[in-house]
């Protein structure tokens, strides 16, 4: 160790050189900080480019196949309408359909930038072009994955440590993005083994683990409920404790025989594993002793393979191409995500008898099976079908839409937007460019935080998301007086659309139109335009901003903003 009290003079610069040096260093430091800050700021604010969809060619074979299938589905609905003597509503315009698609697949409304890009396409294939772009957008797979996950595992955080819901959602999103056949994906969920971290599909099993001293392992009852409801569209869990009061279709035994397929699953140090020695023990109501139940499927036993573990057998049987309940359940859920309401309600209670199914169901299920359980194609066929493309309103004010039309898929139904759709839409509407993965990082980050806060106050629907829900007073208060609405309509030239429209629009009419496109994805009617143009005309810049802010407030608080239509 050197003597620190007597420094070596040669190692120390002279005082003057020293201060010179320091000054240089100081300047260098400041320079580096400025450059660094500029680089970070540039990265945070820099939008990336948004390419046109890779896989869009209006004349390609896939799209013409989609059109063919959609026409067959259309015929089924046309026959139904004729039989019921109902005339369908007129077709909706492209922007209305684009708005429906954006809300369904990305959970938000289109940006002004996107509206412009849609309108730049030739009129006859705008909708499929827009859908192609949405299907390539990572926002879509993430959002649809979240919607599917609600049916698979609910919304709870679930058991501590052994369950990672976010990993499961990301995994589903990746499957959707890579066009993994849906039957394969579900087989993997049902029969997943290993750790919930390295094999995210295993979270489907670990989500049901009960952590108490009675047992430590996946709960076969919960798994049976999930499997039947989410993948087969049957509710046999009501007979869990008693035989079916209503139809005598299911017996307590049916349910427990199905649950028995999961009885081998258990938790080991290496994650989910099957123990061939474990059995399903049940104490039937009225019995004093428990009895051992062997796995038996509730219908179509001929479709079950003889080989494999119980879970592998169940997975193969559930997703068998001839087990139509599986395809119908997927169709019903995808239809519901797009259309706002399932084709068969309740969403997880679909008749097994084809005679009781609504028009289109069998055809869509058939198409889904023959095209390798391709979710993206299913989305395309539904979006291309006539019921999806009908208006939600009549064009004849004397003959408004009737309940019969809505009930028979002869008019697009009005459905309340989900909380995150409202939140995302408020944020998107206040920003002219699209907030997606290509958007500046800061904007994406802000959107995430704002969305979370908003949904917390607005209220989440949980997994019963297709049940009829009423609006609430706190929701109205939040949109009338909430912080997010105030911030997003304030005078803020960097972010807020309202300020930018006010300063960029050449005249009041253009400004009003831009606001309507941002919020409603449509142009104002003559009456609306006249009303707001008159308020804006002959006003100074500040007064104009107030009018624009009021305009934004009114549109945000309108029925049209909070409802899918």
């Amino acid at each position: 160790m050197s003597d620190v009290t007597s420094p070596n003079p040669s190692a120390v610069p002279t005082p003057s050189a020293n201060s010179e040096n320091r000054r240089w260093q100081g300047w260098l430091c400041i320079g580096a900080i400025v450059v660094g800050f500029a680089m970070v700021a540039n990265w945070l604010w820099r939008p990336n480019s948004r390419p046109a969809p890779h896989h869009f060619h209006p004349e390609n074979q896939e799209l013409s196949g989609v059109r063919e299938s959609a026409r067959i589905v259309d015929d089924a609905f046309a026959n139904h309408w004729e039989k019921e003597t109902i005339s369908p509503a007129p077709p909706a315009d492209d922007l209305t359909i684009a708005r429906r698609l954006s809300l369904a697949l990305t959970g938000t409304i289109p940006s002004l930038e996107e509206v412009r890009s849609i309108e730049a396409q030739p009129e006859n294939h705008r909708v499929q072009w827009w859908l192609s772009r949405l299907l390539e957008d990572p926002r879509s797979s993430d959002y649809v994955a979240e919607r599917l996950a609600r049916a698979y595992v609910g919304v709870e955080n679930g058991p501590f440590l052994v369950y990672r819901r976010r990993r499961l959602v990301r995994w589903i999103s990746e499957q959707l993005q890579s066009h993994r056949p849906y039957d394969e994906m579900v087989r993997e969920l049902i029969s997943a083994e290993g750790l919930w971290t390295t094999n995210p599909a295993a979270n489907f099993i670990t989500a049901t683990i009960e952590q108490n001293d009675k047992k430590e392992g996946p709960d076969q009852i919960q798994l049976a409920i999930r499997t039947t409801r989410a993948f087969l569209g049957v509710r046999i869990d009501c007979v869990q404790c008693h035989d079916d009061k209503f139809g005598d279709r299911w017996k307590q035994e049916d349910f427990h025989q199905l649950a028995a397929f999961y009885s081998e699953a258990e938790m080991k140090l290496t994650g989910v594993r099957d123990d061939r020695k474990k059995h399903h023990e049940v104490q039937f109501r009225g019995d004093s002793e428990t009895s051992t139940v062997s796995p038996v499927v509730p219908f179509a036993p001929e479709l079950m393979p003889a080989q494999g573990s119980h879970r592998e057998q169940l997975a193969a049987w559930t997703t068998h191409p001839e087990n139509r309940a599986f395809a119908r359940t997927a169709v019903n859920r995808v239809w519901a995500i797009l259309y706002g309401q399932p084709l068969v309600s309740p969403i997880d209670d679909i008749p097994l008898d084809p005679a009781q199914l609504p028009p289109g169901m069998e055809l869509l299920a058939e198409d889904f099976i023959t095209h390798d359980f391709d979710i993206a194609r299913l989305i395309r066929v539904i979006a291309e079908s006539r019921p999806y493309q009908l208006d939600s309103r009549s064009h004849d004010p004397e003959q408004p839409i009737t309940e019969a039309q809505e009930k028979n898929w002869a008019a697009f139904p009005l459905t309340r937007l989900r909380p995150e759709q409202v939140a995302n839409s408020v944020v998107q509407a206040s920003y002219l460019d699209t907030i997606d993965e290509a958007a500046p990082f800061l904007i994406q980050l802000a959107k995430f935080g704002q969305q979370q806060d908003f949904v917390k106050r607005y209220g989440d629907l949980g997994e019963g998301e297709f049940d009829e829900q009423s609006g609430t007073i706190p929701q109205r208060l939040l949109l009338m007086n909430g912080k997010l609405v105030k911030e997003r309509t304030d005078n803020n030239p960097v972010i807020n659309a309202v300020t930018r429209i006010n300063s960029l629009a050449p005249d009041p009419k253009t400004a009003v139109e831009a606001a309507y496109l941002c919020l409603f994805t449509r142009r104002p009617t003559k009456v609306e335009s006249a009303h707001f143009v008159q308020l804006l005309s002959n006003q100074g810049k500040n007064a104009r901003h107030r009018v624009m802010e009021d305009l934004y407030w009114s549109l945000l608080n309108a029925t049209e903003f909070s409802w899918n239509h």
Partner: protein, 432 residues
Amino acid sequence: MNPFFNHACGTSDHWSRRTLLKTAGLSGLGWLTPLADSLAIQSEKNRTRPRSVILLWMQGGISQLDTFDPHPDTEVAYGARTIKTALPGIQLGESLVQTAELLPEMTLVRSMVSLEGDHERAMYQAKTGYRINPSVLHASLGSIICHELPDSQLDIPTHVSILPSQWPARGGYLGAQWDAFKIGDPTQAIPDVSSRVDDERTKQRLADLNVVEGAFAQGRAANLGSERTLHRDLMAKARRMMSSDQLAAFDVKQAPAAERDAYGDTPFGRGCLAAVRLIESGVRCVEVTLNGWDTHANNAEGQQTQAAILDTAMAALIRDLKNRDLLDETIVVCGSEFGRTPKQNPLEGRDHWPHGFSIALAGGGFRKGYVHGSTSPSMEKTEPADKVMVADIHATIQHALGIDPEYEYMTPANRPIAFSEGRVRRELLADA
């Protein structure tokens, strides 16, 4: 006329039942409309039985051994000290000084059993009376009570959650409109109830909105707004709330300083005071959450700190309700999702224990000065004597309020579900 201004702000709407009765008494009943008349009668009826519930929610799991069910001088006590109470032979944890004096007003259940040992699942069970089930979102006790005992005179939400935890009470199958209205520390303004602009601009905005709504209604069913979306109705109700005098009940700063001091200078204490003020204004159910009970380490210290906060606030709440002549019509429940283990872990913490924990109740027809059930001072799991299931508490509270727990509500998914699957425990009630 602008329909958005057309909210019910008429005189009769703003009359509390009590004012109505008082006025009726002064002027004779002759001028009362049949509606007001029946309201007055209804009100008389209601006064004979409890009508409100305050839930003091000890999020995380209060340790029964350090509070309501101590076993002094046994191995499970780990040296925790106790105090005598006004009930002979009954002791409480040393922090519950004021509660000890109030025990003659209260019911203590020392033999609670839950089926769940995880916070989220146990909380769900405690608040709804049912276990988590993937096929249905159950309604919380508070939402069932609000749904069954509606009050059209109320401008403010009938179901309120103060300092909500991660899992505030939900409406479940009854619908989101029965979710508890969430507010933070009552010293802060209630979120979103004041307009961001002046009256003049509000008027302009509503006129603008009218134009926009008119465009949307074109070609749609005539009952769109009135029966389908209920958009205008909700907005009118929201605006009625924004201008209501009843909002003052949230504002504890309006209470006399001495009153505030009694509850303790804590967010929870202020929450309890707000709860009493809300109940007095006609609110049906209020939950107030006190966090910080999940003492997996340093149990004794953590529990004592929280218990002191609880003791001051709960005692003030019960006394205050009594002074305001509200205790007979209000059920006060203090509890958590589960208790804590008899055996301490190496960090001197206690873990989750659903096999024998305590809740305290007061008012609203519950049996005064009664201690129900007992646990044994054992490190191991033993069934408590006279055990009470979580669902039994739900059924008993519903029964006390005149709600039939066995009534099967038809959920939107067409599945009948009983308000509670528990058993009414008449021994807990005064008129047993």
